[in-house]
Symmetry: D3
Subunit: 258 residues, 6 copies
């Protein structure tokens, strides 16, 4: 299992061989989005890429270049499209990227694709992109293809959340730029986190509806929806381990001979 895992670092004969032999292809889906005053804008791509690399090493997979621009950030899940620093693309463009990549992977006979998503707002345009690809390929011809769609936070086990949040888990919906993401970044790229800059102006309290074009003033000024307090690299490792294990289990289950 010591083979290289980054698709973009292979020459074509090696990529062709690996794809032909059935290597699962991991596609990290991220964003460029504010993650609080204390953490890098690229967090949503750093995390799924790192998780995909770890999983790929264990299952003989390859990690494709990630998508660094995500579907429009929303106030309740990422601060909103107007937050400084965030760069949004439209849902349609995001779906077309996913569609085109899957279509072309299918053309070159890839049959095992795993999208690993790190940005909540990507969930729906990824689904749409996959469906559009299946339409374009033709539902009949697409039968030899399997696409798995994973959001990394769904890999985290309940036991781990209880360890990370001994006082109770505030829920995934407020976890943007908060303890989960901060801890994983501390484990992976501590130089991209500066907890001294963390401002404790959360947790956000959201109204049960959306307003456009001017959203209610409910996103904390820092951009952190919940809390950063209690973030730690060690916790990040627990979480990353869950994500890695979860994906490895899924791949082994779905691609038995992988």
């Amino acid at each position: 299992m010591s083979q290289p895992v980054l698709y973009s670092e292979l020459p074509w004969p090696e990529a062709e061989r690996r794809v032909r032999e059935g290597a699962p292809l991991f596609l990290p889906l991220g964003a460029t989005e504010q993650h609080g005053r204390h953490m890098a804008l690229g967090t949503d791509l750093v995390l799924p890429t790192a998780i995909a690399v770890r999983a790929a090493r264990r299952v003989g997979g390859l990690v494709l270049p990630g998508i660094a621009y995500g579907n429009r950030s929303q106030p309740k899940t990422g601060g909103g499209p107007a937050f400084p620093g965030t760069i949004n693309i439209t849902a349609n463009t995001f779906s077309l990227i996913v569609r085109d990549i899957i279509c072309d992977l299918h053309r070159q006979k890839a049959r095992r694709i795993v999208t690993v998503n790190g940005h909540y707002e990507n969930v729906w345009p990824t689904i749409e992109g996959i469906e559009l690809a299946l339409d374009a390929i033709g539902r009949d011809k697409a039968r030899d293809l399997t696409i798995l769609r994973v959001d990394h936070w769904d890999m985290i086990r309940k036991e781990t959340l209880e360890r990370v949040f001994p006082d109770g888990y505030p829920g995934i919906e407020l976890e943007h730029a908060s303890v989960l993401e901060t801890s994983m970044m501390l484990a992976l790229r501590p130089e991209l986190v500066d907890l001294t800059q963390a401002v404790h102006d959360g947790p956000a309290s959201f109204l049960p509806y959306d307003r456009y074009p001017e959203p209610p003033a409910e996103v904390p000024a820092s951009g952190v929806l919940s809390l950063t307090e209690g973030s730690a690299a060690e916790k990040g490792e627990w979480l990353l381990k869950d994500c890695e294990d979860g994906i490895v289990n899924i791949v082994n289950r779905e691609f038995p001979s992988g």
Copy 2:
């Protein structure tokens, strides 16, 4: 407040007057989607339309014709696009419908729009449609416009859920065609519910990822994700009352002179 509330039943001079006077315009967003062996395919439009009508009566609003075709059903939230009876449209088409309607309402000087959604898969393409409308109108010019986006289930109060589920609320994510929707339909349109046909083959237990093109066989054969047992018209009334009150409160808050 005894004015008519259905936009489509007004002649144009009346519609023009009401819009000019600031009547909030409610746009019900639904679907044509399986809702178990016991309930009508149109449930997702019946509910938000009925709720919008009740709210409109109290705030002097108008209810626009609803959208009866929803964004592609997903296995975990509605049984999936391949379930018999379900008619799916694409995310892009759904977004364009929302965009076009908002643009044209703005053209005719409507300034207060409330989308009332009854189909989970519509959430994201509705957001996209609103953003596309704001882009098309021009962000500067759109400043005189307010669009509120409401999912009816978010209006239900915690206290009511505790009354409806004395043994604990299984969570909104499994509520498709289950006690909440069934009870509200029993209250509104009992002839569209036949509990003798309800099959208790749930609750669904979902894997923490999606698979395409063939989803895992995890949707109960009935299409009911959770349970129908315990559904009752009386509970439905409690829930509808919450939805109505919730929207009335939002409208009063956001459109003070409404």
Copy 3:
């Protein structure tokens, strides 16, 4: 023939069975458009829906939820897109709705579709939507599918027009919100017509060209292109009967075992 006819009111097992047994599926295509000072904005959907229901009862068909938003109104046929009360969508969006619905009906093995149109401006984007659906399905695979496209006014017999207009028929092109539509609405939904509000400022006299962006001032202020005088529920029944019979004949001819 006493089976229910509204698709949206069936539970999925019933819908599936009816589709499998070859029930023709009627798709009403309407609009939300000014129909004079005396008649409801929803007229263009009320009429084809009612006609489709009557025909469906006789041929064992099902009526799908109708499309309430029509392609941009034009001055010469409906008052134009800027008339108060009218809500326009673009031709492209309308075509995509038709395309998506047909594609998904084909996916669930529907083979007999009848669009019943009540808004003149929908004619061309409906044709385009059907062609786009055939392209998307694949012309080879679409051979098992038959789509009939009907404009309800084409079902009216010459003899009936002579009875309705003993002094001569002014022609369908000026019939917007005039005697034909008003009479049918009086027969179907008299509460949505108030002839005391009818203003006799027509008939319209159109220049033989279009002008954009500002159309010539040729639409009567009332929005009625011809006359309402002489409208009567009884005449409406004659007309509706023609529409119903015409569609029943077409269905029996095209779907012999229907």
Copy 4:
């Protein structure tokens, strides 16, 4: 009035000057479509181009390069998209061509545009293209622009029709490749008409609905919907004169200082 009229034959300084001085710009819209066994496929562009040239000479206008590919032919108006020889483009593409040309003409300060259409199926996508252009330009900014949309057959006077058809006019809807078009082509380009090849297998008798994907077998094998008998160059001249005069009158009325 002896200035050149073909835009494409001018060098840019001359085109710039003419546009700046307010020359109306005529855009011929045609098709490549079967016109019977006796007439050229390009008829639908030959006619509006010739008419535009004649009108342009009299009003100091310029004729832009014409669009030779038209929106999908339909059985009842041109033989249908599957007729041999016909080359169809989609409604969306046709609309985008019209949109792009108008937007770019507006950019270079053209303010007077006249589309002259020779293909019935182009009517609706031309309207849509104009509306899309106005949306793209911005309705406010588009106020200095006037677009006139003319179908050449609407310019023909009743008196002329009575002269051409002394036994009664069969109606424009069957006139495809019939006496009107054939006569005008005989007047303009007699070498593109060979009446010895005309087959008298019409007139077409159409059912009052459309069927897809296989249209009813109702188009005469020749492709001529009505009759060619009685076609004559002299009649063609009468008709062309009407078209020319009609457009000149419109331009003089709409662009008084033109």
Copy 5:
């Protein structure tokens, strides 16, 4: 080889026969773009059309109606989209035109298509249009189709360039409206060239990057990128002969039985 070559001038039975017998179909791709103070705006369509006609005569081919509106002009290759007189369409629209035409030619069983391009900016959207057509047709079904894409300037032999430019060839990239195009136009349509209007303000000297929205002021005021001096009809004939021979050779090579 004395058969007619213009597709639009044939009646449909003749077009059908020629296509069935394998006649190569030439599609000229042009533009409406400034070509200096001395030459017509339509140059980019005149040239490929004339070349296609000459080649078609020798190989029994047919020339389809050309596309007169090209992809956005760029400063370095045609003066830029803002140059007076130029009418630009978008890359997407241009691609869709090419896609639609190819799809429909395939539908009517054309199997040999040759695009002959005269506008540099068309190169890429033509490629995209061809690929989109192949996607729409289906790569499997498209195997019976061959599309050749030719830019006419690539047909010019080195020997001819040396004869035309005895002092050295300045390179194709500056040849817009310069000696090559001017000479060919002098040979074909001398009335569309007025060398007395040629201004010698070139050659252009371009910066090695593009700037938007305001391009650097590097296009000579005349619009001629290089020189017109030395243009001559005789040289034009040499060049046209090369283009004609080049295409004839390609067609004979690729369509041996053509």
Copy 6:
């Protein structure tokens, strides 16, 4: 000038400040495309990213996340879309990515954008994406924005090419995966180059036209269009220095106070 240069590694307050202060934003445009048997698939993104980083350090700029998927590879410039390992996206999708990013950068008040391209096939859809962004922003409002579009190979000076190719420069058109790219990769990421795998089966000799769907068999089997012989890290440094200097000069010229 020791500030961090990677946008994705900054927290939002820092990104906001830098953008507000006028830092030029560099957007690397790449591809995932075969680069011979000896070099990594990601070459086309590695190069412009590294060049942008070097330039950004000197001018106080920021480097945005790069685009790793490029417009369809073509045989003559990259081996073609069907070459193993290459992952193509469509021109339209690529343009929309560029459009969306520019629009959103403009929204957050970025006024200085520099695209740095490393994949020839991206040139045209990048131009289109920029133009679409300017259309979407509005040409008036876009006046405060400057976008520079650079292809890195245009930064290489003639003197350097003469040093790299003492026997004569074969021309940029064959340089795919050849000496220039290989040398720069040897300088930057030697572990992604394995010259022992280089196969000398070039240079490619291309026919002067394209053929679809099956291109002529003219791409060398290795995918290298020219030669790799003579590649050296030292030469790569010369080339990178040119690219860096070239961009620094452009930025200093265009953004004087940068």
